[in-house]
Point group: C2
Chain length 310, copies 2
């Protein structure tokens, strides 16, 4: 492990109320930066979490962060403020969900402030928040080595100019396949990837849910499979967890070559495959690095084949 490879994570922190066809959970820990930080914490240290909550935010969640070695110096707690709350209901087809409510609370006026002593973190994840806030973060960074950015269809629909401004400045963009098609205005994913990479990011990851993920860098493509799961308990946060595992592994190893990026994609996929096995952050807060590594090896078994004489 290299020295001083701290990881900065900015994103939302929420209390999620989630209904799946089988069960329900109220006010569970959620938000992009919760998932990203927890997943990254298995790989690297310190993780600097930047976010905002109200003083109604349960102390146990703060303890959870701390137990995972997540540094919360950059976590603003607004006195008298309400933490961002989100409610959603998944259909039997877990790819479809309805948002039941969104109460922004203190998140509405979130303006990410990076503490002075963490502005020179080399690895940065811009979790899924408004592109204008992602830009504010970028302006406060001193000499980042790798900026990883996640986003969502909402910002493509409502803040495309700002999003394109962000995309221009980041090294790795992580989006899902429908978002890639939207941004590129192109249905063929391989063509869409070219178009998006011409917008700025040297590396692009397109997540395809149960079909895995594609990594594009230079003229190379890596296709990662999805882990075969018979039960998906709660898909919330899987994409964030992927980004956290990916970023944490890169931060840990300090190697930004294509071969190592492939491994980072698999560690991210392995972490995400645990995330969906239980509600909220439950599984991703209780797994171990060894378990994640064992699943990494399962991904290898799943896709490996040997050449033979024809």
């Amino acid at each position: 492990m290299e020295d001083n490879l701290a990881l900065l994570v900015v994103g939302s922190i929420a209390l999620d109320t989630v209904e799946t066809p089988n069960d329900k959970v109220d006010n569970a820990l959620g938000g992009s930066s919760s998932y990203i930080s927890l997943a990254a914490s298995y790989f690297t240290d310190p993780v600097h979490l930047i976010g905002v909550v109200g003083d109604d935010f349960p102390k146990e969640h703060i303890e959870k962060y701390k137990e995972h070695g997540i540094n919360i110096e950059g976590l603003e707690i607004i006195p008298g403020g309400k933490t961002f709350r989100w409610g959603g209901r998944y259909h039997t087809d877990l790819n479809v969900r309805d948002t039941l409510f969104t109460e922004l609370g203190v998140f509405e006026s979130f303006s990410p402030k990076i503490p002075e002593d963490v502005r020179d973190d080399k690895y940065v994840v811009l979790g899924n928040i408004h592109p204008a806030l992602q830009l504010q973060v970028l302006e406060q960074l001193k000499s980042p080595k790798l900026i990883i950015c996640d986003t969502m269809n909402l910002w493509i629909d409502t803040a495309l100019d700002g999003l394109k401004e962000v995309i221009k400045k980041v090294d790795v963009l992580i989006i899902n396949d429908s978002e890639a098609k939207m941004i590129a205005e192109e249905d063929n994913l391989i063509k869409a990837a070219k178009i998006i990479r011409n917008m700025g990011p040297s590396t692009l990851i397109i997540k395809k849910g149960e079909h895995g993920a594609l990594l594009f860098k230079d003229d190379k493509i890596f296709a990662a499979a999805a882990y075969p799961l018979e039960e998906i308990f709660d898909p919330t946060g899987a994409g964030d967890t992927f980004a956290g595992g990916f970023a944490g592994y890169l931060s840990r190893t300090g190697d930004l070559g294509f071969e190592n990026m492939k491994r980072a994609v698999i560690y991210g996929s392995a972490a995400a495959s645990f995330c969906v096995e239980d509600f909220s952050t439950k599984k991703i807060e209780s797994v171990s690095l060894d378990e994640i590594h064992q699943r990494f090896l399962r991904f290898k078994e799943l896709t490996e084949f040997k050449d033979a004489e024809l």
Copy 2:
């Protein structure tokens, strides 16, 4: 290559009229057994083609079969009969197509007759035809070593009992993801695979189009990626070509172990990736085994990653 590993191929033979967003072709060689035989012919010899055409079937197509070493002893040519004709139009999203016409012609009363001297072929592909016809073929076989079956949603909708009868008797079932969900009445593909394998076939391949394919055998799963293509010219026959490459490679090698089945899936995928690069059988009739093998190696590059110390 083992001796005497002949491959028997039964399916439709058609003259296809296909419109894509870019171009159109009339009365091109088509039908499941044309694609399967041509793809298999690169790997194994002899390929015994069983099918029916009218005497309007162009001599050049028969020459094409012969040039590829395909034995047409089992090709019935009905005097005064009309060859099966199919017309289809693809949307800009090539996953969607409309059938413009279906003129069954001599195919309507097709009753597959396996010539006496090829009834002991060890490798058999039941291409996509009515399950009742697939059963007729099975009854004429003497001592098959491996029966591979392809089918389609039409028979799941209209002839499910017959199809289940066929499925019970085959070794390898090849279907796409939506068909797997239909047969199993289960949305999770990993669960659906278990249900279908309990219906009979020891090996199941689920094709996922641009997302690759899954191979299930014993308690093992192999996930194959799709070849990244920027242009898909004409998707017609890709699934049949996959089956042909898969079957041809297994027939050539005579090894039915899981490791070799994985390679067969990749050779099938490689063949299919060529098929979609031009109209009809144009590309798959003009490619070479070396080109298919080079693409096999590209699939390896695309998915391979190395373990590293954590």
